[in-house]
Symmetry: C2
Subunit: 603 residues, 2 copies
């Protein structure tokens, strides 16, 4: 087994290389009609084809007059004009006239016009070229055209514009890939990175084209690279970028051009390739979706910026980190976050850092960098969170942390019309605000002894044994059990029942194996890896398993009493109390709703 | 002549009416493939079709082992396993195994595997459902899909999504309108508002369709409204929304539905209509492009937001206003601004407030509101500027204010590749930083007595008489003259020459008429309104007029000495000194470049 290693460079160095090699390059240009020009970037300056207005026009409905003939007019000494021309807004003011009197100020007779105020020269006249003069520059080069500028361009005689054009080809490689819509078998994965890459590039103004999946055969990948380079300005080869025996991307790029970088000291995403073929950049994307996402964001985006495309600068907020994170020296690590605003303060809860947990990026609304010079970040530290959604949306977030229950996702869906974004992170119920069951209350008081806390009952939910066939607690010693992690409400409940019934945990097969969600337990049971586990009814129902009720517990949200003054929290509380939510709970099954919406102060 | 007046409501009231009437409405939905789903808004929650991973898989290249068999392994006491399975990253970990040892840590023999470290249970194994469990919610309702989420959706078995669908029809009306590309005759204008409205709506995620121009004939407008309502979810009728005799929009909406609002107390944009036909909103847009832009931004955008579309919240900065603005009580006035950053401080220079000056919106990168309760805003006051470009772009702006010269536009174009945005506002050279000619220097010292100022010579430019036929100063008393405004460099030069040659200004026909740009003067000459005027060569050349040189002057930029430390200002200074710029000046004509790029301290 030959193991090859990458020759890592730092992210900063990789970006320097991109700048040195591709900086200031200009892509092709193309001419598009105005109707398709919004958001495109001008390739050169655009000049007015004619002046606007093209002549002196009236700015009002009224009469065109010679201002000199109106001198001295007043309420007591009206002047009767015998030479004036009726004009509406936009009409030409004839050459011999130099002012317009509003129609409201004119007493019209038979061929006479009486006025009671003098007209200043050029009043209510829009002079030729007031808006723009023929040949004046409307827009400079490299300007991202805004919607309202299309109107101006049309008004100044422009009908089409020359804009930057840049196309990217995306070649997914990998014999293990199956097309979207196919359930992957063992060792297979859905080809999804090309979709993400295409959408990401399009959001930057790049025309992206996805090619069919190529198996891990050098000849076929070589042909796909040939075609991709011929047909595009930028080529992205998805996966095969590592240094394993089936990773051909780097050597094939080197064959036809140059590998500038192979391996960057970032996490996730070390195995990235930056190359060049025939003057065109080629990027080798790592296969893990979160790594691919990182490369698109941190490397491909600035690369596209080198070609003159405006690259969005993410908004940032300073946030208090809730959890200590450890990281490797020498690697810039990107950690996905859920951030939320509590009053004027932002807090940041890290998402799972597993390289394969793509949901982390779905759940995240921000990210932070642990720089290569640091070993981590401490809980309580102020960090800079780069937002992945508009700041307003991040500010609408309600963070719920603690034990997970599927009904929280339904609650999150229910409050979306009110503009509230629920972000829940699953850390076991002792970690945070979401508490389930009375047995948690002493912990809350211990950790937050002086706080005025309110408990909001989401539901009384049934916990029970989840199994393929009907089982009872008495069967536990002969079954393989799927346990929940320490600190979770379900685990505390399970251990309590073990204690009450006198069953010895060490006699339970699988007791040491910890799952972090109800569904994880149910999936272990369905896959046959375990015979039973404890969890909520909804998890059993979702996977067609048998559910044997064991206990009912209050699933409650805990919050500061004054948090209810926050409209976002109030919206969540309202949603919990709504009939719609109760109906949802009843449909999901496994909940009792008599206590749903009931609030009580923590004793 | 009947003049009808609008029954104005405040903007706040108009928005309340929109909320009351259209709040919480849901548009149609449509199903789109993932490749077209980026940026679309989910119509309902989206659930995972299967678990990912679908089974336990290896997170590393290595061997699958039973962890119990590895207990006690160490460097000094290696353990030789005889039962293990070679797995690559992503491969299934067979049921009987519960851990993976990395290949680097394995010494492979003939049917044996030697390890020197124990394996913890489930190490390097990605358990079934680690990423997501079957039936878990991936995204809630009303979520704007981000590019990287497409990859996740595909990976979880989703191939198409149900998203909000909302279509808008835009009917331009007006007998005076000519299509884009046509030079408008007297009283005509290019139909451009429908382009702007369509692009604006598309930027919000609305499918916009433009209909052909309808003349001001009630029957034809009625038919167009019928069709527009039938074919769309929102109808926008462009113009005809005022209260004049040719303004039919309001009465035609009333005929088929209800006019909720006719006239809103905002400037520019009073004559706006908000109506409803068959449950669908109808907006009557005022004809002036800046007024239409205001209605799209302030009224149509929040209306679309009522239907569940995320509307971008503009970024704001606190900025120091440079100029006092007067405004009417009872009207919310929107003033377009050029904002720029000087160190940590933002300054805001108002653009022209003329309702017909569409270039103001092209030049602006921000806007402010003077609320209806205030009579204006004072120079030096801190105002809230709503940005119309990303904040980074606004921060890259260099504000140049003073006398206008066409070469400034070329300079602006030249610095775009460096990412610098030059915003020039034309206020006459005494108003600001751009100075032209020695005769300005005493003013600078007077207004800025203690500052360390640097002058950067852009060019020595020729000022001369612009005329249709060759003229000289001696002809002035018999010619109609087009003058520049008081305070402009050209005006000061002209008056000085008049003084030197003993010509009496009161004898010059047109002396009192002031134009604010060189091109304005040239256009007046070309249109025959004046016989000559004074200005720069480039203005004469652009309009094919005769240019008679009269004097050469230094066209200089003045700045604080330390401003050159700012990379943006340095980029502008570099561009001024570049050979490219000198060549541009020579091609434009009318400039001498020997002094171009020369810097001197203000004495």
């Amino acid at each position: 087994m030959v193991t090859r290693y990458l020759d890592l460079v730092s992210l900063a160095r990789a970006l320097d290389i991109i700048r040195e090699r591709f900086g200031g390059r200009r892509p092709r240009t193309e001419t598009v009609p105005l109707d398709e020009a919004a958001g495109r970037v001008t390739a050169g300056p655009i000049y007015a084809r004619f002046s606007v207005p093209g002549m002196h026009i009236s700015a009002m409905d009224g009469i065109a007059v010679r201002s000199a003939e109106t001198h001295g007019a007043s309420e007591t000494r009206p002047i009767v004009l015998t030479d004036a021309v009726r004009v509406n807004t936009g009409n030409l003011v004839p050459t011999d006239y130099d002012a317009v009197v509003m129609i409201e100020d004119v007493w019209i007779g038979e061929g006479t016009w009486t006025i009671r105020k003098p007209a200043a020269p050029w009043q209510h006249v829009r002079p030729v070229g007031e808006d723009i003069g023929e040949s004046e520059m409307i827009l400079p080069s490299l300007h991202a055209i805004r919607p309202h500028e299309l109107g101006a361009l049309a008004a100044y005689g422009v009908t089409e514009v020359e804009v930057l054009a840049f196309s990217a080809g995306i070649v997914p490689t990998g014999s293990e890939l199956v097309p979207a819509g196919t359930r992957p078998g063992p060792g297979q994965a859905v080809e999804s990175n090309s979709l993400m890459a295409a959408a990401h590039l399009r959001s930057l103004g790049v025309a992206a084209r996805r090619y069919p999946v190529v198996p891990d055969e050098p000849d076929q990948i070589r042909a796909a690279i040939e075609r991709g380079i011929r047909e595009n300005d930028l080529l992205i080869v998805s996966a095969g970028s590592s240094a394993g025996t089936r990773d051909f991307t780097a050597s094939l790029i080197a064959e036809r051009g140059e590998v500038l970088v192979h391996g960057v000291g970032i996490k996730p995403a070390k195995p990235v390739i930056i190359g060049e073929i025939e003057g065109k950049p080629v990027i080798g994307l790592p296969g893990y979706p979160l790594a691919a996402y990182t490369v698109l964001r941190e490397i491909v985006t600035p690369l596209v910026g080198q070609y003159g495309f405006p690259v969005p600068e993410p908004e940032t907020v300073d946030a208090t980190l809730t959890t200590t994170l450890h990281s490797d020296i020498g690697t810039d690590e990107f950690v996905l976050l859920s951030v939320g605003r509590i009053g004027e303060r932002w807090v940041a809860v890290p998402q799972s850092r597993g390289a394969g947990v793509q949901m982390s990026a779905v759940r995240a609304n921000a990210l932070m960098t642990i720089p290569s010079s640091k070993e981590g970040a401490e809980a309580g530290e102020t960090i800079t969170a780069r937002l992945l959604v508009p700041q307003r949306q991040a500010g609408e977030g309600v963070l719920i942390t603690g034990s997970h229950d599927p009904c929280l996702d339904r609650l999150a869906d229910l409050v979306r019309p009110a503009g509230v974004d629920i972000h829940s992170t699953h850390v076991g119920s002792m970690g945070g605000l979401g508490a389930d069951g009375e047995y948690n209350l002493p912990y809350l008081r211990k950790y937050l002894p002086d706080e005025d806390l309110v408990l909001l009952c989401v539901a009384e939910r049934e916990q029970g044994l989840i199994s393929r066939e009907k089982v009872s607690f008495d069967d536990l010693p002969v079954l393989r059990y799927a346990n929940r992690q320490k600190g979770s409400g379900t685990r505390i409940l399970f251990d309590r029942i073990l204690g009450e019934t006198g069953i010895d945990p060490s006699g339970i097969q699988g007791y040491e194996r910890e799952f972090t969600t109800h569904l994880g337990v149910a999936l272990a049971v369905r896959s046959g890896e375990a015979d039973c586990g404890m969890g909520v009814y909804s998890a059993a129902k979702a996977l067609d398993l048998v559910f044997t009720p064991v206990a009912t517990e209050r699933y409650e949200l805990v919050m500061h009493a004054d948090a209810l003054d926050d409209p976002r929290v109030a919206a969540v509380a309202d949603a919990v109390s709504s009939e719609t939510f109760k109906k949802t709970l009843q449909e999901m099954g496994g909940y009792r709703t008599a206590e749903t919406g009931v609030r009580r102060r923590l004793p």
